[in-house]
Symmetry: C3
C-alpha cells in the first residue's frame, strides 16, 4: 500500500476589479483556507509475470473517493510493448505524464486543466526504443466521465491520444544530470452530446464542502463544493470535435532546469465555425544545494528529486547538528487565451515563483506566490495574488 | 490488502417498443457507456487463533465507498462451528454465496437482485460435516439498510435466512473434476415499515453519475446515478412479511458444467392478499481448453478457475511464442415473473451467451451478448439486446 | 494496513414527553436500528528515521470516507520534541487524546462533542519529560472544517489548544497497575464567520442514510443522514471567540479505575454578552477478572486493555474447554448545561452503565444502558433510555 498527503494553506489578495468579478453581488473575497489537496492510497502489484495492476483512489478532491489510476496491463508483448485497460493519464503533455508528486509548483500550469485529456477509461499501449532515447504511446478512450470513471453516452464521447518523446542528449556517465527532452502529442475528442468546455483555475486552489442536506440526526452531509473559482472558462460549447496539439521541452543542465510546453485546441463548433484556443508556459528552476531534476527514460517523464543530504536536526554530545535537505528556487510564466471567433472564455497570464524544500526523497515543503493577470470573459481586467504553502509526504 | 477491478463497456440495441417503454417522452435510448462495475479493496486477517476479520469496500457502485463485507468471526466453536457478526452475504442461493469473481457471466441472473437477501448487518453461523459433503448456515439480520450497512426501523426490518447444501457425488481422486451439488434455502423477511420491492436489471448494467450541486468552485459534486434501468419492478408493496424459498443445482462433468436455480417469494400483502413471485435460470458452460469449474466444499460454493496454461506472448530466439489461457463458452436462460394477484411488476426472459478468456487465475476478459424479452408492467412487450465486454483482475 | 470495525445495535425507550420533544408533529419515536459506528482503515509508517506519516479514513460516519488522522511529523527535534502538520486530535481532554478503541463506554461523554476541538487541520508539537511523568503539547489550527479537513474562511476560523499532564504517582514495579494522572488544557477558538454551536447526543447514536436523488438507473444515492438527534443544542451563536478550559483525572488502583473531567466554555457573544457553558462527568470501572486499565506515558492517554486469558471455546479429548477473556463493569454519570445568559441550549444528565467483554486484546463486546434526563431548550423535561450492544474488532 502506497499513498500521498498534501496539506495546503492559501491566502488571496485581490484588487477591486477582481473582487467585483468573482462576487459582483456580495463583493465577498475569494476565500482563504486550508485543505488537503490530495490524499491518496494505492495498491500496485503483479498477478503474473506479464500482468500488472494499479488501483489508486483520491480522498482529497470532490467526489471522494475519486478514481485516479485504476488499470491492469499486459507487459512484454511483441510489437506493442505494453497494453493497458482501465483508467489512467492518457499520453499527452509532459506535465500530465509526470506525477504531480514531482511537479515544481503546487499546481500544474493553466494549460493542463484546459487542454489535456488526463484520466479516462480506455485501452492503450506504450513502448520505448531499446536505447531508451525514444518513447511512444497511444490510447483510445471515452472522453466523458464522472468522478469514478463512469461514462454514459450514445452520442459521441470517444477520443484518442498519442505522444512521442525523444532525448536530444542524455549524459549517461553523469547518470542523467544533463539531458534535453523534446516531445509532441495529439489528442482527438468527439465530446459526449457534442458539448465541450475549456477552463482553468489560477494555478492555485483551496476548497471546502458546504453543508448539505440535514436529516433527523441534525448532521449535515457534504453538499456543494466551494473554493477558488475558475478564472478562464468558455462555458459549454456545442462542438463536433476538438483536435489538440502539444509540444514540450525539458532541459536539465545540472542544478538548472528549463521546461516549456505549448498547446493549441482547434474547436470544430456545430455553429460559429472553427476556433483555436491556445496557451503556453515556460519555467526555470535551480537547486541551491546542487541536486538535479531526474528523468524517467521509460515514461518520458520527470522523476523523483533525491536530496544529497536528508534534513535532520538533533541534539548530540557535541551540540545540535543538522542536515539541510535540498533547496530549489523556481519561476514560471504561463499564458492561456480562450478567446477566438465566437468563443469568449477569457485570457490569463500568471507568474508563479516558488521555493521547494525537499526534506528527504519523500517529503517536501513548498512555498508559492502566484500573481494572475486576468482578462475575464466579461471584458473586465483584474489582478489577483495568492500566497500558498504546502506540506507533502508520499510513501 | 486485496482487491478487484472490473472495467466494462456496454452497447445496447432496442426495438421501438423498448425505446418507448424506457423513455416515453424524449424517446432517448438506453445509454451505451463504459464504467468500472466494481473496484474493491479489502483487508482480511486474524487477530487471534480463533478470530478473523474482513473489511471490504466497493468504490465502483453508487454510495461509494459502499460497504460490502465487513465482519468479525469466532471460529472452531463447538456445535455452531463459526459465528459471525457484521455484514456479509447471508446464506441463500448458490449465485449469492459464490463470489462474483467466479460467476460465468458478467451479471448474476435476474433472480438474484429480486429475491435474495444478499448483504445485511446481522449475526449468523456456518458449519460443515466432517466429510465436507454437507454444509449448513443460518443468519439473523436487519433487512433494511443504506449503502453502508446502517438500518433504522422501529417497525419491522428483521429477517432470517438458512441454507443447506449437499454433494450427491464428488470425485476426490480427480480432485473435484466431477461433482453434483444440490441445495435448498429459506429467507424470511419482515420488511422495515412494511414496505418491500422486487426488481431486476436485464442481466447487464452500465452507469454514470449525473453532475450534482455546483458551489463557488464551479465544480459539480456527483449527483443522481444514471444507468441501465430496472426492466421488471413491482414498485413499493405494502407487505407484512415475505417468505422466499430457493433450490439449486450445480453439476460439473469435467470441462462441462450445468447450473440451475429456482426461487419463489410468497408475499403476505397488508391489503391485496398473498401473492407468489417466482423465477428460475439454467445455464451450461464448456471449457474449450479442458479446464473445469472448481468447488469450495466448506462454503458450498463455486471456486476460482485455474487455466492449465497462463496466457503469454513473447519474442524468443526462435520467434514469437504464446500461451492461450483458458477459454470457456456458456449460455444462460432465465425467467422472472413479478406478476401475481394484485402485484404487477412485469415478466422477463433473458438469453445470455458468453465467451470467457481466463488469462491466468486472476484475470479474465468476458464477452456477453444478452437478449431480453420483456413484458413490461404497463403491458407493453419489447425486446432489448446488449453487447458487453469486461476486463477483470483480482489480486 | 490497520483498521477497526464497530457494529452497533440500539433500542430506545422514551417517555411521552421525550416523544413529543423529538417529533412534535408525527410523534414518531427515535428510531431503533443497527449500523457500523466506525469502520476505519489506516496506513502508518516512516519515510525516514525522523519522519512519520499516518493516514486514516473512516467509512462509517456521514461524509464517507471522512478524514480522521491525516498527518506527517518530524520527530526527535531539539526543544519541541515532535512537530506535526495535517489533521489530528488536538491536545485537549483525556477522552479526546485517548483512542476511542479504549474508551470504557460505547460513546464518549456529552462534554466531548460540545466543548473539545477534536480534529482539525493545523500544525503542532508534543513532547514529554525524560522521566515520562509529564507530557505537554500545543497546536495552532483552523477551527472550521468540512468532513475532509477542508476549511475556507477569510473571517476567523483559527484556534489554538494546549494540554499539560502529570502523573502524581505511577507504580513502575507493578508495570503501571497503580497510578494517578492529572491534567489541564486550554482551547481558544475564533470561529469562522463568528458562528459557533454547542451540542451533544445522549451518549449513544445509531443512524442511516435516507435515500437521496434517483437517476435513470432507478437507484437512489445516499441522501440526508437520519439518526439519534442532538439532545442539547445551542443552535448557531454569533460569537467573537470562545475560551474553553478543562481539567482531568484518571486514577487506577489495580482492577479499579476512576476517571473524571470538567470543562467550561466562556463564549464572548457579539451581542448578548459573555456566557459560560459547562459540564462534567465521572466514571468508575472494575475488572471482575482482575486486569487493569493501562496508561500510555508518552501521550498522557489511556492504553489497550489486555486480558489475562483470551477467550476460547473448543472441543478437546477431555470435553469442552474455555477461556473467559476479561470482564469489566462500569458506570458513568455526566452533566452538561448549555443554558447561560441569553444562550438556551438545554441541560442534560446521563447515567450510563456498562459491561465490557474483552475476548482478546483486539476484540470487545460492549453492552450499555443509558438513561438520560433532559431539560430541552424548549423547557420540556423528558426521560429517554437506550439499550445498546457493540461488537468491535481492531487490527
Amino acid at each position: 500500500i502506497n499513498g500521498i498527503v498534501q496539506a495546503d494553506a492559501v491566502v488571496f489578495h485581490q484588487d477591486a476589479a477582481s473582487r467585483a468579478t468573482f462576487d459582483p453581488i456580495l463583493n465577498e473575497p475569494i476565500q482563504n483556507g486550508a485543505d488537503f489537496r490530495r490524499v491518496r492510497l494505492s495498491a500496485k502489484g503483479a498477478v503474473a509475470e506479464n500482468m500488472n495492476y494499479f488501483v489508486q483512489m483520491d480522498f482529497g478532491f470532490f467526489g471522494r473517493p475519486t478514481f485516479t489510476d485504476v488499470w491492469m496491463e499486459w507487459t512484454n508483448l511483441p510489437i506493442l510493448g505494453n497494453v493497458r485497460v482501465g483508467q489512467w493519464k492518457h499520453p499527452f503533455s509532459l506535465e500530465v505524464v509526470s506525477s504531480f508528486r514531482y511537479t515544481t509548483f503546487m499546481e500544474r500550469s493553466s494549460l493542463f486543466q484546459a487542454f489535456t485529456p488526463f484520466r479516462h477509461i480506455g485501452i492503450g499501449f506504450y513502448n520505448n526504443s531499446e536505447d531508451l532515447n525514444t518513447t511512444w504511446a497511444g490510447s483510445l478512450f471515452r472522453t466523458g466521465q464522472d468522478q469514478f470513471g463512469g461514462s454514459l453516452s450514445t452520442d459521441g464521447g470517444n477520443g484518442l491520444a498519442g505522444r512521442l518523446t525523444h532525448l536530444l542528449w542524455y549524459d549517461e556517465p553523469a547518470d542523467g544530470r544533463y539531458y534535453c527532452h523534446i516531445g509532441g502529442a495529439y489528442y482527438y475528442n468527439s465530446p459526449p452530446r457534442d458539448l465541450v468546455r475549456f477552463r482553468s483555475i489560477p494555478e492555485i486552489f483551496v476548497g471546502e464542502f458546504a453543508p448539505g442536506a440535514v436529516g433527523t440526526s441534525g448532521q449535515a452531509v457534504p453538499g456543494a463544493f466551494n473554493g477558488t473559482p475558475f478564472f478562464v472558462d468558455t462555458l459549454l460549447l456545442d462542438a463536433q470535435s476538438v483536435n489538440t496539439f502539444g509540444v514540450e521541452n525539458l532541459t536539465v543542465h545540472g542544478a538548472f532546469s528549463f521546461q516549456a510546453e505549448a498547446m493549441a485546441a482547434i474547436v470544430d463548433q456545430t455553429a460559429g465555425g472553427t476556433a483555436t484556443l491556445a496557451g503556453m508556459y515556460m519555467q526555470a528552476g535551480y537547486f541551491l544545494t546542487g541536486e538535479h531534476r531526474p528523468y524517467d527514460r521509460k515514461a518520458g517523464a520527470i522523476d523523483r528529486v533525491k536530496p544529497f543530504e536528508d534534513f535532520f536536526w538533533v541534539n548530540t554530545n557535541s551540540g545540535r547538528c543538522c542536515g539541510l535537505g535540498a533547496w530549489e528556487i523556481a519561476a514560471r510564466w504561463s499564458y492561456i487565451d480562450l478567446n477566438d471567433g465566437t468563443i469568449v472564455g477569457g485570457e490569463m497570464s500568471n507568474l508563479t515563483t516558488g521555493v521547494n524544500w525537499y526534506c528527504n526523497p519523500y517529503c517536501k515543503v513548498v512555498f508559492n506566490f502566484v500573481h494572475s493577470w486576468l482578462d475575464y470573459r466579461t471584458g473586465v481586467q483584474s489582478e489577483t495574488s495568492a500566497f500558498a504553502l504546502r506540506a507533502q509526504i508520499d510513501f
